[in-house]
């Protein structure tokens, strides 16, 4: 699954740690998601979308990273 989490995060000027704290996960999790090496669970994907005030399909799309 591809995603635009990195672009959304940098748009807000947030660090990876800030996003990790907002989501309640480790910084490594944010790193892995941004690199497309870890597909988040559906609840986590929804929280990511909520944090960025976006729809889930605006952040995550099918296909390899």
């Amino acid at each position: 699954m591809r995603n635009s989490v990195l672009e959304a995060r940098t748009r807000l000027g947030w660090s990876q740690q800030r996003l990790a704290d907002e989501l309640g996960v480790s910084r490594q999790t944010v790193i892995s998601i941004e690199r497309g090496r870890f597909d988040p669970s559906l609840p986590l994907a929804f929280r990511i979308a909520a944090v960025f005030e976006a729809r889930i399909e605006e952040l995550f799309f099918p296909g390899d990273a």
């Binding site: 989501l23 309640g24 996960v25 480790s26 490594q28 999790t29 892995s32 870890f38 609840p43």
Partner: protein
């Protein structure tokens, strides 16, 4: 995180409403458990010639694992500095689950192969059960640790 919870390196104990250090409680539990194991070893004659010395050595050797077990039981992870609120959704949880599943597969394969070999080599079938169990646990731990490290390296 900013939820007003006081955090420390080792966290606070769930027992006593968070007033006590988890490490101190765990050490206390470890000493009590280890003393119990030591007394059991002395009573059951694990070291037949020197039961008292054997019991003390047994207690000294088990105090570390017993304290670690105590820590796992009593620590309130919300009070550990750097702990995430949702560890089950973090990538590390996925790494661990894959490593544990792989280690289980390794154990099944190893046990199966050992059983086949033991069928044809009686000397293996006569190995002490304690040695077999120690090897089994060692292989499981090593496999899980190695698989976790590989998964972490891949990111």
């Amino acid at each position: 995180m900013g939820d007003g919870v006081a955090r420390s390196r080792w966290g606070r104990s769930r027992l006593g409403g968070g007033r006590w250090s988890a490490l101190a409680v765990a050490l206390l539990i470890g000493v009590v458990l280890a003393a119990g194991f030591g007394a059991l070893a002395a009573a059951t004659g694990v070291v037949a010639d020197h039961p008292l010395l054997g019991g003390v050595v047994f207690a000294v050797c088990t105090v570390g694992p017993c304290a670690a077990l105590g820590y796992l039981l009593v620590v309130d992870r919300d009070t550990i500095a750097g702990a995430t609120r949702r560890p089950e959704e973090s990538v590390e949880s996925g790494w661990y689950e894959r490593a544990a599943a792989g280690a289980l597969g390794d154990i099944v394969v190893l046990a199966g192969l050992t059983l086949v070999v033991a069928t044809f080599v009686p000397a293996i079938a006569d190995l002490p059960l304690r040695l077999v169990l120690v090897v089994l646990i060692g292989v499981a731990a090593a496999s899980c640790a190695l698989r976790y490290l590989v998964a972490r390296r891949k990111g």
